[in-house]
Symmetry: C2
Subunit: 371 residues, 2 copies
Amino acid sequence: MSPNDAGPATRLLNDTFLRACLREPTPYTPLWLMRQAGRYLPEYNATRARAGSFMGLATSPDFATEVTLQPLARWPLDAAILFSDILTVPDAMGLGLSFAAGEGPRFAHPVRDEAAVAKLAVPDLECLRYVFDAVRSIRRALVSKDSEGRAAARVPLIGFSGSPWTLACYMVEGSGSDDYRTVKTMLYARPDLLHRILEINAQAVAAYLNAQVQAGAQAVMIFDSWGGVLSDAAFRRFSLHYTRAVVAALQREAEGRRVPCIVFTKGGGGWLEEIAACGADVVGLDWTTDLGQARQRIDDCVALQGNLDPAVLFAPPEIVAQEARAVVASFGAAQRADGRFGGHVFNLGHGISQHTPPEHVSALVEAVHGA
Amino acid sequence: MSPNDAGPATRLLNDTFLRACLREPTPYTPLWLMRQAGRYLPEYNATRARAGSFMGLATSPDFATEVTLQPLARWPLDAAILFSDILTVPDAMGLGLSFAAGEGPRFAHPVRDEAAVAKLAVPDLECLRYVFDAVRSIRRALVSKDSEGRAAARVPLIGFSGSPWTLACYMVEGSGSDDYRTVKTMLYARPDLLHRILEINAQAVAAYLNAQVQAGAQAVMIFDSWGGVLSDAAFRRFSLHYTRAVVAALQREAEGRRVPCIVFTKGGGGWLEEIAACGADVVGLDWTTDLGQARQRIDDCVALQGNLDPAVLFAPPEIVAQEARAVVASFGAAQRADGRFGGHVFNLGHGISQHTPPEHVSALVEAVHGA
C-alpha cells in the first residue's frame, strides 16, 4: 500500500524517506541528519537556554517540539526525528540520570552487582509519558497544507531508542567510558548478570518504541552506539541478539502504513551481513564502509542509511557538496534500470558536530537533493 | 634460512615469534602484549618514578632497557618490544612534545598552516640517537646463555613507529582528539598540505625504522592507531598509501635474517584485504574481527597478530584462560596438516590497560602457550 493511502489526517507531503526505507524508488535521495536538532544551531542553543538544561528541553513536549522543527525550518530535510535522549529509558528505571556541564550523562545509581540487577525492571511507561506527549505534539506541529489546501504532514517523524547493549553500557558504567571496563568485566566475569540486564532492556526498548509508534512515530531507529567496542563473538551474543529481540517485538504497521525500523551500529561494518538479517528494514552505516560494497555484501536485502563523515562538514561548502555527491554515487543509483533512486537514505555516519557551520549544511542538502 | 643460522652473536634461544611472523610452524603460539612494559606493572611505576617522567624514561637508554625487560622477567613472553613512544619522530621534527599529567601528549608547535608545513622536514636521526642507543642496550641485555653455555638472545626485539597518518593526527591536532576535527578539516579542505606532511612522515618513519633495524631491532611494527577514524576512500588515500610507502622502503634483512614487518590498523578490519597486500609480513587485528574469518578473507597471504580484547584481562584468571584459548582456536591451528601452529602471533587487540592485574597476565601466558 502506498504511504499516501493512509487517509487525510496522516497524508504526507513528502514520503521520500519512508519510500527509500522500503527500497521503493524516489525522485531523489532523501536525507536527514543524526542530531539535526543540536548545538550547531543558534536557535537550538537559545531554546536550550530558556529550558535551563538538556533534560529540561527533553522532558518538555513544547520545547522538544520547538527544537525538533528548527532544522526543518532551515532546510528541506526529508524526515523529522524526535528530540530526546537514549538514556530516558534507564532514567525511567530509577537510575537517576543527570547531565553535569561538560561531562556528559551520569547515573546516580549504576547497576553493578547482583542486588542492583535483581531490582531492575521494565519501567512503567507512564514515567516516559513526556516522550509520547512530545511525539504527539511534534506530529501536530508537522501538519501543513497541500497545494489544494488540504491538511497533510510535511515529513514523517522518526522515533528512537538506544539498543539494549548500548543502554547497558551506560547503566553499568554509570557514565560514558573510554574502555568500558566495568561493563566488559561484567560481560566476561558475570555474563548471567549482563544477560539479565539485556533481557529487561530488550523488553523495555520494545515497549518504549511501540508506545512511540502508538503516539505517532512513523519510523523507529535503534542506536547501537557501542556495539562496535565488542569482540566479534561478544557482539553477536550481547548486542545483536538483543537488538534482534527488540526488532521482532516491534509494531511494524500504524495508520495503514509500514513503520520502517532502522538499526545503526557504530563501528559495525564488519558485521553488516548479520545486522542486515536482524529483521530491520534499514541498516545505518558509519563512514568506514563503502555503500556500494555494502550493497553487494547484503545483496540489497535491506535499505542503507548513511554515511558521510560528519567531519566533512568542516570543509568549505564546495567540498561538502563534492563529498556528499560521492556518497550518493557510491550507493550506485545507476544500477536501477529506471534510473531512479531506491533504498538509500542519506545521513551522516554519526551525529552532526556542534562545531558545524550551518551554512555548510545548506550545501549538503542542496548537493544530495540535486545529485 | 633458519633464524638460528645467523651466527653466535645473534642466535636466539626462542625464535617462535619470528617464525610465526614468517608463517613457519612453531611448537606453540608465541605471544607478546602491546604496551607489555607499562603502568599495570608495579616495577614499571617504580622505575618511572625514578626517571621523573614518561619522557625521562623513554629518552634514557638505561631506563628504557630496564622497563623493556621487566615483563620478560615475569613471564616467558616470546618477544621484547622497545620501550618508546610513537611521538618521538614529530618531537625530533621540532614540534615540542610534552606529557602533561593526566592529559596525554601535547605539541607546543602543531602543524596547522602552509607556513608550518613548509618548515617541516625529515628530522636529523641524530636527534633520535637515544632510541637507537636503547635498541643496542636492550639487545645486549637480552643476551643469555644456551644449555651449552654459549651466548644467545632470549627473544627477538621489536622496534616500532607510528604510521604517517597517525603521526599526522597528533602533529595537526597538537594532542589527542575525540573527533579529529582539525586534521580532518585539513584533509578535506587542504589535502595538498596533508599530503605534504604525510610524504615527509613516510620518509621519516622509514628512515627511523631502518635505523632501529641497524641498531638491532629484529622486527618492526607500524602502529596505524587512528586509521580507523577515516572514511573508506580517505583511509586508502591518506593512511594506507603512506604505510605502503614506508613498508616498501624498509630494510628487510639484517644479521642474516628476515626482519618481519607488522602493520596494525586499529579499527581496520574492513580493509583487511588491502592492508594484507601492503607488503607487510604480519597484519595486526583488533578484537572485532574473527581470526579464522580473517584468514579466509586473505587466503593466508600474511601472518596475523592479535586479537584478544584487553578488557578480558579484568575477568578472573579462569575466564582469561578460556577466552585466550578461544582466540587461539579461532585462528584454526588444526587446519595445518602437521598439527603445528603457523602464522599466528598472539597479542591483545590494543595496548594492555593500566588497570590489569598482573596475575591475570600469568593465566593468559600459560593458556596461550598451553593451548
